[in-house]
Amino acid sequence: MSGILIENLNVWFGEGHERVDAVKRASFEVPEGGSFGLVGESGSGKSTILRALTGMVPSWNGRMEILGKELGAKRDRSFYRKVQMVFQDPYASLHPRHSVDRVLSETLQLHGFGDIDRRVSKLLEDVGLGPEFRFRYPHQVSGGQRQRVAIARALASEPSILLLDEPTSALDVSVQAEILNLLTDLRRERNLTYLMVTHDLAVVSHVCTEIAVMQLGEIVELLNVDDMRNLRASHPYTSHLLRSSLGRRSESTEAESVSTEAG
């Protein structure tokens, strides 16, 4: 069964000459338990696809399915139990006047979980936040800590599908490694399906097996991780993306070999 299916999806904002076509004829499929990456230009419609799936865009047409079930205009609570999203802007999903504890406990209660106290501690521990963060408010934690609270909130309902919008963009590489390992483990244990947006090709190649490249609202190329690692791209924009990352990669390779010698 497919975890996520998108067919000829169009999303637009505004009307008449103000109309912006944010997503144009997008199609792709993520098998259940699969992991799919969306990369591409800033403003190309990546977040909009995720928001369309969660029912957060006003006007769209085409077909969207989650675990074999077609999506209509509205999403009910059982949908949010199955599908959770980590927003690009962590403030967007965190109420400014609710403590971390309240954000997590209320999510757990809403989805009918018991044993709340233990679960909240476990969720925080999973994302590398100590108990001292439990009663802080969103503005009292750092950018990367806030992003991890948003990840913990998305994991709270034990969803089977996770939509991840730049989930590690605010994390230093050591914490990023911990979060990526956590995501890998969870997918293995619970057969989760991931749809991840990122501009970091090394991250996407670590997490995802299939990748779509977007530009100006369209998916311009679909490729698998081997194509990507071997720089086999047919669209010029994809080649450009891969080449730019390659430039920086060879630097890091150099840096690493030097540091091994030094150590």
Binding site: Y91, Q145, R148, A177, S205, R229, L241, E254, A255, V258
Partner: protein, 285 residues
């Protein structure tokens, strides 16, 4: 000639339920007309340091320092009214959460224009023209359309670039850029860095560049401060970052995922509690 900025023995403390939390613990550094990178673990005190310099830490947070000088003149003890003149043309800061820092009910173009009008003696029409120019400079594709958008209507990377345009428009002496390119794809990122670089080279601006992208910092900056647990644990020339000696910095370099070398699991750091207790290293010039 004096440095652009000198910070000596800076402390930032926040009262919390479990006692006073020391977010920044006695750090000292200066900034010349250079690109100074700050890297460090999530929560190590990078953003708080930037906000403390601009005196944007709100009570009950507490800031203490022996001195904070802008071009040799005190900005730690001057009245708040005078400090308002420092913010903008003296020092401006690109915040880590750009969309949160913008006014949600004002068109983004008007916000940039307003920032310009505050410091330049020009007409509204000229401010608008200048704003459009800035949007073009940060590679916004459709500047006329984006001028009229509200913050919630722009994408993550567009929000980041709008913030960058807004902070550069008053022509500050010092720009503190907190993760300014984290939401940008590689090509746009290069263009944005090029603009900042030109301001440093041509106008002699000082840049404090906070980032977790080690490769980027090592190629883009002149000097780097590495923070851990509210202290500076190491400083080095940026192009020597890969020779860093502190175990934390070395660990960071090993945690990077790689496009060319797939790995099942990424190395994670084992953090030694002793790292927190070592004295801070000075980053002063």
């Amino acid at each position: 000639m004096s440095n652009l900025l000198d910070v000596e023995n800076l402390w930032v403390r926040f009262p919390t339920r479990s006692g006073i939390f020391e977010a920044v613990r006695g750090i000292s550094f200066s900034l010349a007309r250079e690109r100074l990178g700050i890297v460090g673990e999530s929560g190590s005190g990078k953003s708080v340091t930037g906000r403390a310099i601009l005196r944007l830490i709100r009570p009950p947070g507490m800031v203490a320092a022996d001195r904070i000088d802008l071009e040799g003149k005190d900005i730690l003890r001057i009245p708040e009214l005078k400090m308002r003149d420092v913010r903008g043309q003296g020092i401006s800061m690109i915040m880590q959460d750009p969309k949160f820092s913008l006014n949600p009910v004002m068109r983004v173009g008007d916000q940039i224009s307003e920032a310009y009008l505050l410091h330049a003696d020009t007409s509204k029409a000229q401010a608008r023209t200048k704003t459009i120019e800035m949007l073009v400079a940060v590679s916004i594709r459709d500047p006329e359309r984006v001028y009229n958008m509200y913050p919630h209507e722009v994408s993550g990377g567009m929000g980041q670039r709008i913030m960058i345009a807004m902070m550069m428009i008053p022509g500050p002496k010092i720009l503190i850029a907190d993760e300014p390119t984290s939401a940008l794809d590689v090509s746009v990122r290069m263009q944005v860095l090029e603009i900042m670089d030109r301001l440093v080279r041509e106008r002699g601006m000082g840049l404090i560049f906070i980032s977790h992208d080690l490769n980027l910092v090592s190629t883009f900056c002149d000097r780097v401060l590495i923070m851990y647990g509210g202290k500076i644990v190491e400083t080095c020339k940026a192009d020597r970052l890969h020779e860093a000696r502190h175990p934390y910095t070395k660990g960071l370099l090993n945690s990077l995922p790689r496009l060319d070398a797939p790995r099942d699991r990424l190395d994670v750091l084992t953090r030694d509690p002793a790292w927190r207790d070592q004295p801070s290293v000075s980053g002063m010039l």
